[in-house]
Chain length 418, copies 2
Amino acid sequence: MSDNPLLAMGQAAREASYQMLGLGAKQKNALLQAICQQLRQHEAAILAANAIDMAAAEQAGLQGAMLDRLLLNSDRLAAIIADIETVIALADPVGEELESRLLDNGMRLSRRRIPLGVLGVIYEARPNVTVDVAVLALKTGNAAILRGGKETLHSNRALLVAIHDALATQALPKAAVQLIDNPDRALVTALLQLDSHVDMLIPRGGAGLHRLCLEQSRIPVITGGIGICHMFVDQAAQLDKVADLVVNAKVQRPTVCNALDTLLVHEAIAPRLLPALATTLRGLGVELRACPQAHALLGERAVVAGPEDFSQEWLALVLGVKLVAGVDEAIAHIRAHSSEHSESILTDDMSTAERFVNAINSSAVYVNASTRFTDGSQFGLGAEVAVSTQKLHARGPMGLDALTTYKWIGQGHYTARS
Amino acid sequence: MSDNPLLAMGQAAREASYQMLGLGAKQKNALLQAICQQLRQHEAAILAANAIDMAAAEQAGLQGAMLDRLLLNSDRLAAIIADIETVIALADPVGEELESRLLDNGMRLSRRRIPLGVLGVIYEARPNVTVDVAVLALKTGNAAILRGGKETLHSNRALLVAIHDALATQALPKAAVQLIDNPDRALVTALLQLDSHVDMLIPRGGAGLHRLCLEQSRIPVITGGIGICHMFVDQAAQLDKVADLVVNAKVQRPTVCNALDTLLVHEAIAPRLLPALATTLRGLGVELRACPQAHALLGERAVVAGPEDFSQEWLALVLGVKLVAGVDEAIAHIRAHSSEHSESILTDDMSTAERFVNAINSSAVYVNASTRFTDGSQFGLGAEVAVSTQKLHARGPMGLDALTTYKWIGQGHYTARS
């Protein structure tokens, strides 16, 4: 620990977090307003820095979605600022009294929501996440240590200058938001071991990053954002309504974690449902990977699924299709393959739906709905920090509350335990 | 993972957890009643097994409290059974609907409390913990994998036979409660890496065990049970009431985590308070380790504190004593030395109390009360799984709720995301 290269950064973040926790909602919102203002004032510098990142990324051969995520322009900066205004409008969860009781001995015992302290966030090459995470952390009275993708280093540095200038206008320490602005991967490991100064780690990235964090982190990790999502079409589903939901779940936005990955179909209705559904999906550019029984119904509209195809988060227009004998086989398949993100059953049979909902303990379980709803704004949380698929602290879309914890407060009258 | 020696145990626990989560409160309470009955029926075998452990422990030179913790007798078994009856009487948190809303699109969105799944518990040589943990896990619909101290191996095996017999009477799988009954420490490491089959790890033991879990566990760990607890006596405290609270916090039960470790005294009142207080404490057998300024007031009643003395959980009749210039120095000292378990301020000055309560984010913060209150039964939680000092999931005394998580349930009408 004493030779951790991030030790000074961690200590500074901890000190800054002590100043942040003393702020009221009004002061924190003034800070967020100042960030909006500084982002506007620094627009030229930010876009110039982003242009350097973009040029380097093109040189390095980045293409398509990767390059698009990297890009900042005037409109996108305005959208980032608009998102901050949304966060300003949200209620501040800090200070909320979660419960309060008078104990028999006269002590008033209450539980009060407080900031977590210092957040560590590791994320991919998306400059908007830098602002997003900083703003959510500050809104909830936390300090943050950020480690963004190396492709956005110049953009992130320029954004940090704006955030630091905003902190300065409010007489708050720069260390409230710090950036690990060295792409050396050894610093990721160093961050994971900074458990005495970082209270929660949020990895926003692929399975490899999550695995690394699980294996190496001494800091509690929020696992999530990876969805191997299932939809089970029961024999009692309204078959004429199935296609719309499958298309919505698979095609609306295939690159996100709540998009559908595997369609499970009750074998009794598969002959009536699957051929036409496959034609629809093929027409929308969806490639089908089918189990042998489904393949027998689909012929050239599908390829035979390989052994790993039912353990994939596709993030693309690909869909696994598998026939099952009923809800129990669907449950068993989901338990074996799901990442516990989002699963759905389509059925009009209430007892089948209940069986599915009780047996499946994914973060979000739907009856007659698309998996695409697992999202902070859809759930009405206002902001989304991440989508957790783990079981501790927070599950599913994480709002501002998930960046807080609580303490017990006992107010006595020189009260001793008897 | 595939060569983890506990893999089969983990898989069996996961399967058993699926059966457990389907049980209602009545069935779970019937199981706990069956455990009471089987413990009574197996009393002779349990006490005989415990006698083997006791003989081996005496042979190995164990003494005093260690030996006493190991001992089972008829009265203690009856007390264990009485504790189960208490748990039976508690409300079952599983199934509780934490919130429920109708979204604009007509979807009913609710959040339902569910079991965590599989708990891993590592604990010291206390056979009562074996039953305690198994009962709390089963009450909340979880499966558990237990690893008790090697000194209690025979006792734990005998207790497990009773628990397994009880599971059998309810047609439930033995794998719902499993014991790692091999003292090889490599199996602790194996358990820490069983993250795909164990959902939460509770280490109940010393700082070394917690450190091992933080460093090696891929499973979320509940850190806690270690209390470096402080009491700050402000200048505005009612001085005639201080001694009772200090004695209560330090002397009532010095071996527990909520006992007082360091007394911070405002320098303005130290000359009036400390000499008499030190005499009282010395009379009760408390050794005082004082900062130089306090030592100057106490002379032979104290020794000068060494550099590590203010970072100790004493678990004994030893107390650190330090003078501070005011509440800010007390806050800074606590932030630097506390394990975030329990801290207390004694003062009649409301703004000083508020400053202390707002600045100190330990799991429990008291005003004019003993630190000894941080306890599940004192807080009215019914049962206590552990005392958490971390910030995620649960803080302070953990009741049955802390062995649950939740899922989101969306009930639609073939609802697609627009």
